[in-house]
Symmetry: C3
Subunit: 349 residues, 3 copies
């Protein structure tokens, strides 16, 4: 539930999404957005795909937003708003209710924040308690730095960017305008670079930094390493979920979306508009072209040069069935040899 939302007239919401009020009273007070299942008489709900027809039929929502195609699934006694794209309409209304709900972050600098005198702060920045801002940091106008964030030497934060509490940004890293970084994420940790010498590892200092574009979102507890010599680069408009590892020198093209728990090894280059499924892995020093989709938990072991949808996942089975199948995976070369012997015997006969 979203207890802070304030009431809005249904008719105003219809106008906001350029929809059509097919039936129902435009003066109905809408207190919140809700799923079809949990909606009540003060809720506006959404029918965004045919898979939710059944829930639409029994919803207690005051009104439902739907495409024309699916709208007959909405019961007659429920107000109906038709739109071209119900999912986008949901996004627009969520933004509206989010603004109503948000206590605006009042521009101010908390007295417990430690800010080096050489740092440059734009107009209307909000800096929370227990923040540390090192020398030569630049923070753009309207940016928000949450409680406990640490910005190391010469970091640049773009205008209107938002760092949630406890984000760490290492020396010289850049974060673009309007980007959003969730709590616990570390930008600019050292890349994993060592040279082996006489059975020991010698550290190779990581001299590059991280450049994050504009309108990027990065989830909670991610780790984005700085480059070894060049920078690690995340392009404009990329969206990264939680607990993602981006190794040194990785480059991610614009508007690529990456689900949670993905690991990307060093110097991999990922194209634009790719979609990487959760917990997928991408090996180092390879290239993925634009418009590639990778299934969850698949490992990319070679460059991909054709847009498309790629998978590599062991299918889930009942454990006893799995035990029988898995042992045969090991024996595939033997099975093929036996097949070949049969084939040559039959050829002879």
């Amino acid at each position: 539930m979203n207890p802070l939302a304030k009431s809005t007239r249904l008719g105003d919401l219809v106008a906001l999404v350029q929809g059509q009020l097919e039936r129902g009273n435009p003066d109905t007070a809408i207190l919140r957005l809700a799923t079809l299942e949990s909606a009540d008489g003060a809720s506006l709900a959404f029918l965004t795909s045919g898979g939710y027809r059944r829930q639409a039929g029994i919803t207690r929502a005051a009104a439902v937003v739907s495409s024309v195609e699916l709208s007959e699934a909405v019961p007659e006694h429920v107000a109906l708003v038709t739109v071209r794209d119900a999912y986008r309409a949901y996004g627009a209304l969520a933004r509206h209710f989010s603004l109503l709900a948000n206590l605006a972050a009042v521009p101010s600098i908390h007295p417990t924040a430690i800010i080096d005198p050489s740092a440059t702060l734009g107009a209307d920045v909000a800096i929370g308690p227990h923040v540390s801002v090192a020398a030569d940091v630049q923070i753009g106008a309207g940016a928000m730095i949450g409680a406990g964030c640490t910005l190391d030497h010469a970091v640049r934060i773009g205008a209107q960017a938002r760092l949630y509490p406890r984000v760490t940004v290492g020396a010289q890293c850049d974060i673009g305008a309007r980007s959003l970084i969730h709590s616990g994420t570390v930008v600019g940790s050292d890349g994993f670079g060592f040279a082996r010498h006489e059975q020991r590892w010698e550290k190779i200092p990581q001299l590059g930094s991280v450049r994050i574009g504009d309108d990027v979102e990065i989830g909670a507890n991610c780790a984005i390493d700085r480059g070894a010599l060049d920078d690690t680069v995340i392009g404009d408009g990329c969206k990264l979920d939680n607990l993602i590892q981006v190794a040194h020198n990785v480059r991610i093209g614009e508007h690529t979306a990456i689900a949670a728990c993905v690991g990307i090894a060093g110097s991999a280059r990922i194209g634009r508009r790719c979609m990487i499924g959760g917990a997928a892995g991408i090996l180092g020093h390879l290239e993925i072209c634009d418009d590639v989709t990778i299934s969850a938990m698949s490992l990319v072991t070679r460059s991909i040069t054709q847009p498309g949808f790629y998978s590599g996942i062991f299918p889930l089975m009942d454990n006893s069935e799995w035990e029988r199948a898995a042992v045969l995976v090991r024996h595939l070369p033997e099975l093929r040899a036996r097949l070949r012997r049969l084939e040559s015997r039959l050829k002879e006969s």
Copy 2:
């Protein structure tokens, strides 16, 4: 080693676990609990499974706790305590020694903590240094908030709950009574919700929150996203290990245990008393019934409606063997076609 433990009489420990002192002096001073392997003459050790018989035979422990069935593996010169369930007895004694060892968190509010005047604090709360508590937060009696934690607007923390240092809880999230959250975990980060529009991603604000039940434990550096419209829900008594991703709108039933590095995608529903192995993945919008066990690193790609044990893991091999087998996995359709041809040739003949 556990250097803070204070000495206890063996006889008192036997009473605590309602065991039987089969042999040995009840006045023996026990300084610490230990494994059979690392125990010394002031240690009490545990024989919890037949696999440790050999270590029991050569232990230097002062005394061993064992079931009657395994007790003959304990050498005659070692004091012997028999119990019904040696693992539970170990748990009970670990709690006893833990209480001896712990410096009780003295109820107090550190002067560097920033606490909004509208926050409500129960009796005997302990709030560490550099904590931030926003407006309208409620903290239950006896709760402990470790150093550097951040509680955003209207968070509720149950009585006796413990947040280790550097936990972040986002606006409106609830954490139940006696729950335990380890360091670095983020509760209430935004769910990963975007609508694609003309090759860009539009953010869908996440209006739900997170509700964590009573007696839940969540490990270090996890990320628990807030719901899109409804809440993300973790039921009473659930135990989550470290580095776990719980996406928006996930619901986890009571007393389910989840090992480290698991990723659970959006809107998945997991039943009660399930056990999810480490680094397993669960795709979104599916349902897992009660009492399901999933192997480590398996990916759940469809709903599971029968209790049981499920696996899907590529078997580990010597790399050269793997190369031969893996290439044949790709050629399975061809192998089957060749098999079919042989079958029809033999049918004809």
Copy 3:
């Protein structure tokens, strides 16, 4: 780019790596190290493997460091430095430029740090803002504790160790000399230990601690659990990347390197000089001998007693190809049965 690097004479850099200046002016000013691709006329670049010959041929670097074998790939107009091992030379020069670039952490204790009077601080320690140091902590000479770190009761930090901002170290844990821990990492969270009793989980307090050796590096946002009774141990010289889970009682031998996102379950023992690929998993209570390499995303399900290279990864395919192959993995037992039937029919005939 590494904007803080100061200029150095090429001849001095050649001496530093005991190389041979084959051609070019030793008085050339080198401002930075760079990749062959991004180098400019003030850069020194490296040709470290034959795969980069093409980039060497078109580099705009002032000078290139190369082995004698590869050196002919460097154009005549570019200064050439030959060395025995170009990758090690790169490491040594990166250390040189890193020292030039680093603002030395001035030994000092920030006034916002909260330090228990019973803590012992060595000479020349640097403690950042908003740090918490509990009772009986010992910090060795020259150690650096970054902003927002939390050191719980009786933690010991070795001489010259560096903790980046926002590291948490739990009670009684040890970190060795010269070790380096990146931001967000949690050392000493509770191991995942519960006893099942009547469909509920009873917590088993974790009485052990964590012992991290000398010259260890641990990446960002890792979780290293304390032992149940014995300690969790990471040997001297180990290198761990980001987002790694080390469960209770794990022991990792000296100079083992572990890539990002790896999960190691409880009581696993890993040998010396192993290399564990990214997102690999290691099940609990097993042993891996010295000098073992594990491929990325492979799951180790049994002990490994022979040094070598082990893999277990489902190969990546076009999704439609994968669908056909994956279904046949399930049907392997049936395929083998059909093969057997054919074999016995042919034997009969």
